[in-house]
């Protein structure tokens, strides 16, 4: 039996894989590569939990992950549910302002949203994205998002506005996390080592 069975063909390597964060009161969060089985489970269980007015009510992660060489997820506990995940079809892009990690799709488990740990899980997910960006020697992060999320990204340290050299294809709100914001986010993953 192939060791790669149940996984996509191109498995990203990262020093952060299998890292575990103790995120009280939610327990342990482990960075994993989401498998096709995980994607199928998400696509089966998350859509009904998304509010009908959520902007991603029609998202399906299986095809997104299948075409993304960069794909990671935070999994709760050992073998538990996915708390959040992201992917990028490109990884790092070279821009006039330097190398930037292009964050394509990111979602927090609808059950971990506001009132149910959304603050902590969302912050940890973005912090791990930043750590991954720095691992790939990207000094910043670029992404597109919806108007409803502008305040949240600004609170995280992102800067709204056109990014030189990057044509955001969906014409949504472009955001850039510069070197300082990216480093600050990434350092949050270090917490207090045991």
């Amino acid at each position: 039996m192939s060791r790669r069975r149940g996984r996509y063909a191109d498995r990203p390597e990262s020093v952060h894989l299998d890292r575990v964060w103790e995120l009280n009161p939610h327990g342990e969060m482990k960075l994993v590569i989401p498998s096709p089985t995980d994607a199928a489970k998400i696509d089966r269980e998350w859509p009904p939990k998304r509010s009908s007015h959520h902007l991603n009510v029609g998202w399906r992660w299986a095809p997104l992950l299948a075409r993304s060489p960069e794909r990671f997820a935070l999994k709760r506990g050992d073998g538990g549910e996915i708390a959040g995940l992201w992917c990028s079809g490109k990884g790092v892009v070279e821009l006039p302002a330097g190398r930037h990690y292009r964050l394509d799709y990111l979602e927090v488990n609808p059950e971990f949203r506001a009132g149910a740990g959304g603050s902590e899980v969302s912050l940890l997910l973005m912090a791990v994205v930043a750590a991954r960006a720095r691992e790939l020697e990207a000094e910043g992060i670029v992404l597109e998002t919806y108007e409803a999320l502008v305040q949240w990204y600004e609170n995280l340290g992102g800067i709204r506005g056109a990014v030189a050299g990057w044509t955001n294809p969906n014409k949504l709100v472009p955001f850039r996390f510069g070197p300082d914001a990216t480093r600050r986010l990434a350092e949050m993953t270090d917490g207090e080592k045991e």
């Binding site: 575990v20 998350w46 902007l55 997104l64 799709y105 902590e120 969302s122 999320l149």
Partner: protein, 125 residues
């Protein structure tokens, strides 16, 4: 046993999470693979939801002059009223076209059914 690769996120992390707050959506970033139709439909859903919230907040007042009538509601006010749902949809389309997130709803204290011409036009099965 303490896991070798385990990090505890302390009070500073939780304080920062509280300062930043929870995102209003579960989707936080939208990639280049999203179709324009998806993006447009999603934006409409969000706009319609906001308009519907305004409608619900106005129902008591609307009951004074529009009770049990089907209304075309947009930007906080009634633009037209009709006897039935079908005429209201057609009226909304005629007045605003398919791209404006208007609410078509019956004015009653327990109103729960709503659609818009825009959403109906863009909705995918």
């Amino acid at each position: 046993m303490v896991k070798k690769n385990k990090t505890t996120l302390g009070e500073a992390f939780h304080s920062e999470a509280m300062r930043i707050g929870a995102p209003p959506e579960s989707a936080l970033a939208v990639g280049p693979g999203a179709s324009e139709e998806d993006v447009v439909a999603a934006a409409h859903r969000s706009a319609v939801a906001a308009e519907m919230d305004d409608f619900h907040a106005s129902v008591s007042k609307l009951m004074e002059n529009h009770a049990l009538r089907w209304v075309v509601f947009f930007e906080g006010k009634v633009h037209a009223e009709f006897d039935n749902q079908k005429d209201a949809y057609v009226g909304a389309l005629t007045m605003f076209g398919p791209s404006v997130p208007v609410v078509v709803a019956r004015v009653e204290e327990t109103t729960s059914v709503y659609q818009t011409a825009a959403y109906a036009f863009h909705a995918k099965s």
